[in-house]
Symmetry: C2
Subunit: 197 residues, 2 copies
């Protein structure tokens, strides 16, 4: 955690950084990681190459920050919702953010780059933990309401619920959002139906 509280950050730094990350993100989404070259980012962003190297030690450092800044956040469901509602809300929101055109274009690259960039693997891992924490809270709500057996593993539930969406995203033809919706409905119905009132 950098202390951006004590001393305000020079706006020039923020501007340049944002421009470069945006440009790099575009290139990544359009043509994959190979297209994210230092020169291409410099040209598209309008920021000089020398400035890029003032912000990052190497091209890889830039790539890491590009990924970090693009991983979508999700919000914890409203605490007044019932278990069923909360579960639906979480799955629907995760699906929604994953279905973003930009994320659909970036996700495969993240999956691949992870393998050979430990820093990226760590970022992805931390993100999963964050999201699992949200789901864990929902599962706990289900247990408290007697709708789920005590000791239900939120990780297994996550795989059960998100796995099919993930699979659809990476295998179905792009722009086949109907497939994704169908998957979500089906999975939720089946999951909830198996624990009848």
């Amino acid at each position: 955690m950098t202390d951006h509280t004590t001393r305000p950050i020079d706006p020039r730094v923020l501007r340049s950084r944002a421009k470069m990350i945006d440009a790099a993100t575009e290139l990544l989404a359009e043509s994959g990681p190979r297209a994210v070259t230092v020169d291409a980012v410099s040209e598209r962003s309008g920021v000089a190459k020398s400035t890029l190297y003032r912000h990052w030690e190497s091209r890889e450092g830039l790539l890491v920050d590009v990924m970090r800044s693009n991983i979508p956040d999700i919000q914890a469901p409203d605490s007044e919702l019932t278990f069923e509602q909360a579960l639906r809300a979480v799955v629907v929101e995760v699906t929604a953010v994953m279905t973003t055109p930009r994320w659909r274009a970036i996700l495969p690259a993240l999956m691949m780059l992870q393998q050979h960039m430990p820093e990226l693997a760590e970022i992805a891992h931390d993100d999963h933990e964050e999201k699992k924490a949200i789901l864990r809270e929902v599962v706990q709500r289900g247990i408290d309401a007697g709708r789920l057996p005590a000791g239900t593993d939120e990780e297994l539930v996550a795989r059960q619920l998100i796995g099919p969406v993930f699979f659809t995203l990476l295998t179905a033809h792009p722009a086949d959002d109907a497939a994704v919706d169908k998957t979500v409905d089906y999975v939720l119905e089946r999951f909830l139906a198996s624990y009848p009132d």
Copy 2:
């Protein structure tokens, strides 16, 4: 379909081709697609670069064949098995071939390269169709046995059953095969339990 029936293929061609594809596969699994350069493949395989260009028009052509030759096959389940047994057999086998270290290393690259290499996308798509056909037969068996409702969509079943495994493979820490097994068991139990005898 090439006619390798009329005239036998020169063994030298087969040898060179196999060597190059093996070397390229290794490089791909070790260090990703960027490492699969023409020079690197030539060096590791011991086959001259000029020979590589006698076999493929470009580096991309080689990459396509590398993927094609690495996509694992699965077998249709024995026709004497019950629906339950057949379903288990299919899921277990798909999981087994996907869990291969080599395939785990290659799969993310395929997911990514697909986006910008239509030929690869087609290969992957055809492979899915092949595997879905096997599952469709099993689902039909389930319908005939009255264990599944008529009109069950094998595609949704596939997403339901394979999705979680797929998700686990791409997100869980590598070498966490226990996670995969747990996923398979859990998914199968839940799926079958929801259609009681």
